[in-house]
């Protein structure tokens, strides 16, 4: 266990700590963040109304839209000169969501990521192959800080370049791998083709996140790569990876509650639900100053376990994600809303904005096909005209959303119309 004192802290003591942190947080954001001062004033709540952690439900929510509106640094509660790093959400048209970190924030990130790795048995002896992308995406750096804090031999190989991943894994004898679950299966297949026998490799654990996966997929990953596969959870709005993670029991993800406070709410009414009931996950960053967030509505659906975990940790666990309250798609780890694709399509010539998104998983990688109706007047008689329209759309999708999609023009009025909410997504992934 990385930090036994905190991780096994008795529940009442943990609550006392959380209450203390929440009070300082509310004072801080009321004083330093214009957005929250106004939001709290509009909501009719003062910092003095917050006396303990249970008063958290008196605070207003924060949405993704709010975070876009305060772009770039509108939630920063620290002095700008104390910001040492910034990350941003990928795959958004228009305004991205920004998270800025003070040195203390980076220290928190390192701590929660070290806990995440330790929960899967990592020690300073381990060789960590970090195949999450480095850059504005939070995955690469978050894992990196955790590995460094723990003292792992950390290999910042970043995402992609499968041949090199396999070579490094073999030559350095990586014992830990971090990437998306689908990419781990892709690596397993590619390794097998290259003649690698994973049962003879020193790999012992993998930490997989950034997209939804299932128990079936876990079984498959564990069988093919001969390691234990751990689910980890995080999001750019809060810090990145390191918000919650599975322990050796692999029964739910422990929330690092001393830093990130989870609530489950009814997404329609906003009412807080008791542990054990399914609803939308809401998170408050109790200790951050670079980008403190009050009651962030994740739109992720899960529940908090009522039972204590057999591992002895007292921090509550969430069930692996059960879905979304909105129509957000996660394709190869990139978050995409159909409305973003629609916005790109609206600017294109030769088509009508009637579309169908077909998502599949081929050779363990997500694929997206965008079927879109051609305009009535498109001179489709020439193949190159059709192919140019398809190519231009694919190019625009890649430029604006950073996704690779196959675009397929279909005949006018061939996509099914429906009353009310249109069916625009066919997800054939079996996850």
């Amino acid at each position: 266990m990385w930090n036994e004192k905190i991780e096994k802290m008795p529940a009442d003591k943990l609550q006392t700590e959380q209450s203390k942190s929440l009070k300082s947080l509310v004072n801080l954001v009321y004083k330093n963040v214009e957005f929250y001062k106004k939001r709290m004033d509009d909501f009719g709540v003062k910092p003095t109304d917050i006396k303990d952690i249970n008063d958290i439900s008196k605070l207003p929510f924060t949405t993704k839209q709010d975070m876009r509106e305060v772009y770039p640094l509108g939630l920063c509660a620290a002095d700008k000169k104390d910001i040492v790093e910034v990350h941003m959400s990928s795959g958004t048209t228009g305004t991205p969501v920004v998270n800025s970190y003070t040195l203390e924030d980076i220290e928190i990130w390192s701590e929660v990521m070290a806990r995440t790795l330790a929960q899967g048995g990592a020690t300073s002896e381990d060789i960590l192959q970090n195949a999450y992308g480095y850059g504005l995406f939070t995955g690469g750096f978050g894992v990196h800080y955790g590995g460094r804090k723990m003292g792992c031999f950390t290999i910042p190989i970043s995402g992609g370049n499968t041949n090199r991943q396999l070579q490094v894994m073999r030559d350095f004898g990586s014992t830990l791998i971090t990437c998306t679950p689908s990419y781990s299966l892709y690596l397993a297949e590619a390794g097998k083709e290259a003649g690698m026998d994973f049962s003879k490799m020193p790999l012992k654990a993998g930490f997989f996140g950034a997209e939804a996966w299932s128990e079936t997929m876990r079984t498959e990953i564990e069988a093919k790569l001969h390691l234990k596969a751990y689910d980890i959870y995080g999001l750019t709005e809060i810090i990145g990876p390191g918000v919650a993670g599975e322990c050796e029991a692999q029964e739910g993800l422990h929330f690092f509650e001393d830093h990130f406070y989870p609530e489950i709410i009814n997404p329609d009414t906003g009412e807080v639900l008791p542990d054990g009931e399914k609803g939308e996950l809401v998170i408050t960053t109790l200790t951050r100053t670079g980008t403190p967030v009050l009651r962030y509505r994740t739109r992720d659906i899960t529940y908090i376990f009522k039972e204590k975990c057999s591992c002895g940790r007292t921090h509550r666990r969430i069930h692996r994600l059960l879905g979304r309250t909105d129509d957000m798609l996660i394709i190869r780890g990139v978050n995409i809303f159909p409305s973003q694709i629609e916005n790109v399509l609206l600017k294109q010539k030769g088509i009508e904005p009637h579309y169908l998104l077909v998502i599949d998983r081929v050779n363990n990688l997500d694929t997206l096909e965008v079927q879109v109706e051609m305009s009535d007047d498109l001179a489709f008689d020439s193949i190159k005209v059709v192919e140019k329209v398809e190519h231009d759309i694919a190019h625009a999708l890649h430029n604006e959303l950073l996704i690779s999609a196959k675009v397929k023009l279909v005949a006018p009025k061939s996509i099914q119309r429906s009353e009310g909410k249109a069916k625009r997504i066919v997800d054939n992934r079996n996850i």
């Binding site: 051609m374 489709f380 008689d381 020439s382 193949i383 397929k408 061939s414």
Partner: protein
């Protein structure tokens, strides 16, 4: 110049059969049909009598059809017939997008070459000036 019907089709089994059945039910005689295909879709190009009417009929039956102006050049059905026409087109710097040919019932010794070109009017003028026989819709039967 004549009008050709183009029908956009997804690559699905039976779709061409559905269209030809419909044409036969409506008593439309296909003078010639040429198919272009990619991995994802196909385009059927047809020469029929009354192309505008047939295109409308296809549309109202759910087919994605439109008409396109193409050049139809009559050449003797013999060696070198196509090369001769292409030479004339090439020397005018006109780009051919696609072409196909068929033999008419009325003149079994003549072949009809259908060309889709950019700048169709200029191409037609040029071919005529070189003494080639451009066919209009009334000539085909």
């Amino acid at each position: 110049m004549i009008k050709q019907i183009s029908v956009f089709m997804e690559n699905k089994p039976g779709i061409l059969l559905d269209m030809t059945k419909l044409l036969s039910a409506k008593n439309v005689n296909i003078k010639t049909l040429s198919l272009a295909d990619t991995a994802e879709f196909g385009i059927a190009r047809l020469i029929v009598d009354n192309p505008d009417g047939v295109a409308e009929m296809l549309k109202s039956n759910g087919f994605n059809a439109r008409t396109t102006s193409v050049l139809a050049v009559e050449v003797p059905d013999q060696v070198g017939g196509l090369a001769m026409v292409l030479e004339v087109i090439t020397e005018a710097g006109i780009n051919v997008e696609y072409m196909y040919g068929f033999v008419e019932k009325k003149h079994p010794d003549k072949a009809l070459l259908v060309f889709k070109v950019e700048e169709v009017d200029r191409a037609a003028e040029h071919l005529k000036s070189k003494g080639l026989n451009l066919v209009s819709k009334d000539d085909i039967s």
